[in-house]
C-alpha cells in the first residue's frame, strides 16, 4: 500500500485479501445513497456506513464518533476522487491512518482473484477466478501446457497473464451461455490467443461472429492426456445453457445452479417458456449425473457462498440436500418461485446481451458503466 499525502491507497487486490481472510475492516462509503443501496462491498467482517461525500464538504467532525478506534478504516467512492478528499479531511481531523480504495468501486468491480480449486487426475489443475465486486466466477483448466477458459470476463489480460505465468497456452475459450449480467470476454480472449471460441448454438441465433458449436458429444480435450470436458445440455436460464463435466470430477453449471440458489429463467424474456426446461435440468438431468461431482457455478450471490480461501464450490449431493431451489416438490410452486417476485434485472442487461451477440460495440468506459452493480442472475438474491 502506498502513501503520498498521509492517506494510503488500498488496491482492490489488497481489499480482496482482507475480505477473504475475514479480517475486520470499517468502510466509509461516500457515494450517494442510491448507488450505495444498489450495491456495495460486502464481507463477513466488514462494517459499512454510507455518508455521501457532499455532506462532508464542511468537515468530517460529525462522523468522527462513528468511526471505531483501532480498526482499519477505508473510505470508498465511485472512482476515488471523493474518497481521497474525505480521507484527507479525516487525517486532518486527527485519525492517524486512513485508507482509500484506489480506483474506487470501478476497480473493485473489475478485480479478479485467481483461486486454485484442485488438481486434475492426469496432472494439471483447475482455477477459479473470483470477481468479488460483481459475484462472477470464471475458470481456467490447464494440463500439459494447454488451457481452456470458461465464462471469461472482459478483463481478458488477466487470463492471458495468468496463462503466461503458468506456462500454458489457451486453446479453447467457452461460454456456458449467452450472458446477460456481464460482458463476456470469450470472443476477445479467443481472438487474442488464437483459441477456438465455443458457444451453445441455441443461444447463438443472433450472434454476428463465427464460433464453434458447443453441443453434447463434442468433447474437448486439453493437453494430450485425457482431460475431457463433456458438455451437458442443461437449458433453463437460457435456451442453450450448457454445463460441463471436467475430468469426471467437476461440474461447471454456468447460471443454472448456484451454491445457495438456482438460475432465473427470465433474462432473455422467456420466463414462462423456460420454467419447464429449468425444472428438467435441475430435477432430472443433474440427478442422473454422479452425485460426488463438485459443482462450480458461474456466479455467487451472497458472500456466505464463499468458502475457504474464497473458493465457491460444493458437492452435487450436498446441494440436493441444502439448496432450497432443488427441494421444491410441487411443479406449480417451483414455477411460481422462479417466475414471480424475482429480484430486479441486472443493470443494462439488454445492452449487455446485444453486446455479447456482437451487435453493438462500445468503448471501455461504456462497458464499465454497463457492468456496474450486482449480477442478480439467481432466483433468490434477497
Amino acid at each position: 500500500m502506498t502513501s503520498t499525502t498521509g492517506v494510503i491507497a488500498m488496491t482492490a487486490k489488497e481489499l480482496t485479501q482482507i475480505i477473504l481472510t475475514k479480517e475486520k475492516i470499517f468502510i466509509l462509503d461516500v457515494r450517494n445513497e442510491s448507488d450505495f443501496n444498489d450495491w456495495r462491498i460486502e464481507g463477513e467482517n466488514t462494517e459499512t456506513i454510507n455518508i455521501p461525500y457532499f455532506q462532508l464538504l464542511d468537515g468530517v467532525e460529525s462522523i468522527m464518533e462513528k468511526v471505531p478506534v483501532g480498526r482499519t478504516l477505508l473510505v470508498v467512492c465511485a472512482k476515488e476522487g471523493s474518497s481521497k478528499y474525505v480521507a484527507e479531511q479525516m487525517l486532518d481531523a486527527g485519525i492517524s491512518q486512513v485508507y482509500y480504495l484506489q480506483g474506487g468501486m470501478k476497480s473493485w468491480n473489475e478485480y479478479l482473484q485467481p483461486v486454485k480449486i484442485g488438481d486434475l487426475k492426469q496432472g494439471g489443475a483447475i482455477y477459479q477466478f473470483v470477481r468479488l465486486g460483481k459475484g462472477c466466477l470464471s475458470y481456467m483448466i490447464m494440463s500439459e501446457g494447454e488451457a481452456a477458459v470458461i465464462d471469461a470476463l472482459r478483463m481478458t489480460e488477466i487470463f492471458v497473464q495468468f496463462a503466461e505465468e503458468s506456462g500454458v497456452q489457451i486453446k479453447h475459450v467457452l461460454d456456458t451461455h449467452l450472458h446477460a449480467d456481464h460482458i463476456s470476454g470469450g470472443r476477445k480472449l479467443a481472438e487474442e490467443t488464437r483459441a477456438t471460441y465455443w458457444l451453445p448454438p441455441k443461444d447463438a441465433d443472433e450472434v454476428v461472429f463465427p464460433y464453434a458449436k458447443l453441443e453434447e458429444g463434442n468433447n474437448i480435450t486439453i493437453g494430450s492426456t485425457a482431460i475431457y470436458m463433456e458438455p451437458i445440455y442443461s437449458p433453463g436460464h437460457t435456451k442453450g445453457s450448457t454445463s460441463f463435466i471436467v475430468d469426471k470430477q467437476y461440474l461447471l453449471t454456468g447460471d443454472i445452479l448456484f451454491i445457495e440458489s438456482i438460475g432465473r429463467p427470465d433474462l432473455a424474456g422467456k420466463a414462462d417458456d423456460w420454467v419447464g426446461d429449468l425444472r428438467t435440468s435441475l430435477y432430472h438431468r443433474y440427478k442422473q449425473l454422479a452425485q460426488d461431482l463438485i459443482v462450480l457455478p458461474a456466479h455467487f450471490g451472497k458472500i456466505t457462498e464463499l468458502g475457504e480461501g474464497g473458493k465457491v464450490m460444493a458437492q452435487l449431493s450436498e446441494l440436493y440436500r441444502n439448496n432450497a431451489g432443488l427441494n421444491i416438490d410441487s411443479e406449480e410452486i417451483f414455477r411460481i418461485a422462479v417466475s414471480e417476485n424475482l429480484p430486479s434485472q441486472p443493470h443494462a442487461y439488454q445492452e449487455i446481451r446485444r453486446m455479447n451477440m456482437g451487435k453493438i460495440t462500445t468503448s471501455k468506459e461504456e462497458q464499465r458503466d454497463m457492468e456496474m452493480g450486482p449480477n442478480r442472475c439467481a432466483v433468490h438474491d434477497n
Binding site: 445513497e33 461525500y53 457532499f54 464538504l57 472512482k79 476522487g81 478528499y85 458503466d369
Partner: protein, 195 residues
Amino acid sequence: MAQIQVDQILDCKGLACPMPIVRTKKAIEELKAGQVIEIQATDKGSLADLQAWAKHTGHQFLGTATKDHIFRHFIRKSNPSEVKDQLHFPRTITNQALEQKLMNHEAVTILDVREPAEFAFHRIPKSISIPLGELERQLDLLSIELFQKDDPVYVICRTGTRSDLACHILARHGFTQVNNVLPGMSAWSGPTERD
C-alpha cells in the same frame, strides 16, 4: 434545449468528482436567494450527486439538459426565509380549482413568475413566463399583447410566495381579476410540459 437565462454559469467540464459539487457549493454561496446557476459538467456522476446534494441542502434542483456529452444542470438557490409567512393577496385559487378550469377548457391565462430555468423544465402547458424580477418592466407589453386588464389571470410560482408579490404588482397597475394559485407548481398534479 435552447439557451436558458440564468444568473451564473459555472464551468466544471473535465472535472472529476468531488470537484463539480465543491465548486457548485462555493458558487452558490455567492448567489442571492432565488438566483439560478447553470453547472456545466462532463462527469456522469455529477447528475445523481447534484440531485442528492440539492435535496440535502434544500436548494432547488430544476433539471438537466444533455448534449454532446455535456451536462447542463440547473439549480436555484433557496432562501431559508422563503416560507409562506405573509400571504397577503386576498384573491387565491387552489391548484385543484385551476386544474378543473383547464379540464373544462375554460380560457384561462396562467402567468408563471418563476425563473426561466424553472419554467423550462416543468410548467403548465400554454402558461406565460415572466419572472417576478421582470414583471414591472414588462407590464405595458402584458396589457396590450397578452391579456386585458379585466381578464382573469392566474399567477403561479413554486410555493405561492413570488406569485403573491406578483399579484400585488399587477393589482397596483390596474389588473382587476388577479388570482394567486396555491400552493403552486411544487404540488401541481395536472398536466405539465418541458422544453
